[in-house]
C-alpha cells in the first residue's frame, strides 16, 4: 500500500468512527425526543393517583386534595403538556419501574432496568402508594417514605453519606443499593421524570419547602425504643413465619402470582445489597421502622417495636449481594452464601417444600398486593 494511502486510512478510519458515534448519538437523542413527545400510557395506579389530583395542562393548578382538606383553593403555576407527560412518566417509573405493565418497557420506562440488577425491584415497594401512601380518610402516613415530602426536604445534611444530599443523588443511591444496580446520570430522564412527579406530589399535597412532614423518610426504631430484650434471630424467624412468609416466601426470595411480582425479595440476588440503608448491619434503625409503619400491608402499625427489630435482624442475616464498594472478596463470599445456603435451609426446614432457588410461586389472597 502506498504511504500516502496508508496515511489517509489512518486519519480517515478514526474520523469515520467518530462520525458514526456522533450519528448514533443524534439518533438516540431524536429517539428520546420522540418518547418525550409521545402520549403516556399510564399504569392503573397512576391513572387513579393523577386523576385524584386533577393533573392536566393549564395556566394554573389547584389541588382538589388541598381544597378538600382545608377548604382553600390555592392557585399554583399550571403545567404545560410537556410537564404533564414528564409527571406521568415519573409516576409510571415509581409504580412499575421494571415496566411489567408496559407494552414497550424500553420506551415507556426509559430502560430503567439498565440500572437495576434482578427482576424484583420497583420504587413502589418501599415508596408505597406510588410514593404517596394514605389511609382511607386521605391522611398521609407517618414514616411512609412520601416522595413529595422527600423533595421538599432534599439538600439537607445526610448523616450516612456526609453530604448535603440533592434529590437526584438520593435517587441514584436507590438504584445503586436498594436495587443493587447502577447509577444513572443526574440528567437522565429516568431521574428527572421522577423528580417532576415528586415535585408535583408536593404541589398536590401543599407541602412547603424545607418543612418536615411525618410521611418523609422512615420513623426509625432504635434499640432504645424497645424493652431492650436484644434483637433476636429466633424470635424474628418465628414472627417472619407468622406474619411475612405468606407474601415474601419461605426464604424471603419474593413471590410471583400469574407471572406478576406480588411481593419483592428481602434476601437473595434480587434483594437490596449490603450497602443499602435497609441492611440491618449497616443501619439498624431503618428496616425496623419501615416494617413497623408499612408492614404487613393492610395491618400497618400492628407490630411492636421489638417485633419489628427482631424481624429486621432475621432478614439482615439472610444472604444478599455485597455492595459495590465492598470489594471482590466480600462479593464472592456473598455469591457463595446465596448459592449454598438456600438449598441447605431447604433441606433442613420441614416447611420449605418449594424450590428455594427461584422466586417462589404461591397462591396469594387478592389483598396480598
Amino acid at each position: 500500500m502506498p504511504p500516502f494511502t496508508a496515511k489517509l486510512l489512518r486519519i480517515a478510519l478514526p474520523a469515520l468512527g467518530l462520525g458514526a458515534l456522533y450519528l448514533l448519538a443524534l439518533h438516540m437523542h431524536a429517539q428520546r425526543d420522540d418518547i418525550r413527545q409521545a402520549a403516556v400510557a399510564l399504569t392503573p395506579g397512576c391513572v387513579e393517583k393523577l386523576a385524584r389530583y386533577d393533573l392536566r395542562p393549564g395556566e394554573q393548578y389547584a389541588s382538589p386534595y388541598v381544597v378538600q382538606r382545608t377548604g382553600a383553593k390555592i392557585a399554583l403555576r399550571g403545567y404545560s403538556e410537556e410537564d404533564v407527560r414528564a409527571i406521568q412518566r415519573g409516576c409510571n417509573i415509581i409504580n412499575d419501574t421494571q415496566g411489567t405493565l408496559a407494552k414497550d418497557r424500553g420506551r415507556e420506562r426509559w430502560h430503567a432496568t439498565r440500572f437495576i440488577r434482578g427482576s424484583h425491584a420497583s420504587c413502589d415497594h418501599c415508596h408505597q402508594g406510588i410514593g404517596d401512601k394514605q389511609d382511607a380518610a386521605g391522611n398521609r402516613l407517618k414514616g411512609s417514605l412520601g416522595l413529595g415530602a422527600s423533595w421538599v426536604q432534599a439538600d439537607m445534611y445526610d448523616r450516612f453519606t456526609g453530604l448535603l444530599l440533592p434529590y437526584e443523588l438520593r435517587q441514584m443511591q436507590c438504584y445503586i443499593n436498594s436495587s443493587n444496580g447502577y447509577k444513572p446520570n443526574i440528567a437522565d430522564d429516568v431521574i428527572r421524570d421522577v423528580t417532576a412527579y415528586s415535585r408535583f406530589l408536593s404541589a398536590a399535597l401543599d407541602l412547603k419547602i424545607a418543612n418536615h412532614y411525618e410521611e418523609q423518610g422512615i420513623d426509625e426504631i432504635a434499640a432504645s425504643d424497645t424493652l431492650k430484650q436484644g434483637d433476636d434471630y429466633i424470635r424474628g424467624e418465628a414472627i417472619y413465619k407468622e406474619k411475612c412468609i405468606g407474601c415474601h416466601g419461605a426464604q424471603a426470595f419474593g413471590t410471583f402470582a400469574n407471572g406478576q411480582l406480588v411481593a419483592p425479595a428481602l434476601a437473595g440476588p434480587n434483594a437490596w445489597n449490603m450497602q443499602s440503608r435497609n441492611y440491618f448491619y449497616y443501619v439498624s434503625t431503618i428496616l425496623p421502622g419501615f416494617i413497623c409503619r408499612n408492614m404487613p400491608l393492610g395491618q400497618e402499625n400492628t407490630l411492636t417495636n421489638q417485633e419489628c427489630r427482631d424481624i429486621a435482624y432475621y432478614i439482615g442475616n439472610l444472604p444478599r449481594p455485597a455492595g459495590d464498594k465492598q470489594g471482590p472478596l466480600i462479593a464472592l463470599r456473598q455469591q457463595i452464601l446465596m448459592s449454598v445456603l438456600p438449598p441447605l435451609v431447604h433441606l433442613t426446614h420441614s416447611d420449605a417444600t418449594r424450590s428455594p432457588q427461584a422466586a417462589e410461586s404461591v397462591a396469594l389472597p387478592e389483598s396480598a398486593d
Binding site: 399550571g78 440533592p166 423528580t195 412547603k208 419547602i209 424545607a210 418543612n211
Partner: protein
C-alpha cells in the same frame, strides 16, 4: 542519619508545614471549612430566619456560602465570571433579589417552549454565569451552583412557599 532518611524527614516536614500553612495561614477558602462572614450576613440571616436550620452546620454554611456567591459573585465565583469589583453588574444581586431566587427555585424544572426542553434551576444558574456575568459554565455539582440552590431553599422556607408558588406583587 543517612542521606535518604534525611530527605524523607525533610519531605514530611515540608508536607506538615504546607498543611499547617494551608489550614491556618493561607486564607484560601478551599483549605478550611468555615465560610467567610461577609458584611450583611447577620442581617440576612436574621431577616430570612436561617437560624431555623441551626446556629451552624453543613446546611447553614452552604446557605452562607450561597449568600456570599449571590451578593459577592465576582469574589466567590471568580472562576466563573469575568466581572470584577469595578464592574457595575458583577453579582447575582445586581439583577435579582433573594425572593426572586426562591420563586425561581419553586418554579424550576419546567418545560421552556423557547428552548424546547425542560430547564432546571441549575441550568438557569449556569446560564447566568455564562451570559449575565460574562463568564463560564460550572458543572451541575459545583458548590457555585449547589449553594445558590440551597440559599434559594432556605429563603423559600422562610417565605413558606412550595412547588409552583406564584408571586403576588403589591
Amino acid at each position: 542519619m543517612t542521606r535518604a532518611r534525611a530527605a524523607t524527614l525533610a519531605a514530611l516536614a515540608a508536607l506538615a508545614g504546607f498543611l499547617l500553612w494551608a489550614h491556618l495561614g493561607s486564607g484560601v477558602p478551599v483549605f478550611h471549612s468555615e465560610v467567610v462572614s461577609e458584611p450583611g450576613w447577620d442581617k440576612f440571616r436574621s431577616r430570612y430566619g436561617i437560624g431555623h436550620f441551626g446556629d451552624d452546620g453543613q446546611f447553614v454554611r452552604a446557605v452562607q456560602h450561597g449568600y456570599n456567591l449571590f451578593f459577592h459573585t465576582y469574589k466567590y465565583a471568580s472562576r466563573f465570571t469575568r466581572r470584577t469589583a469595578a464592574d457595575r453588574v458583577n453579582t447575582c444581586a445586581s439583577c435579582h433579589t433573594a425572593e426572586d431566587l426562591a420563586y425561581a427555585f419553586v418554579n424550576s424544572d419546567r418545560f421552556d417552549p423557547k428552548l424546547g426542553r425542560r430547564v432546571s434551576f441549575e441550568d438557569r444558574v449556569r446560564w447566568c454565569y455564562a451570559a449575565s456575568v460574562d463568564g463560564f459554565v460550572p458543572t451541575i455539582y459545583d458548590p457555585a451552583v449547589r449553594d445558590l440552590r440551597i440559599l434559594a431553599r432556605a429563603v423559600a422556607h422562610h417565605l413558606q412557599i412550595g412547588e409552583g408558588a406564584q408571586r403576588t406583587r403589591n
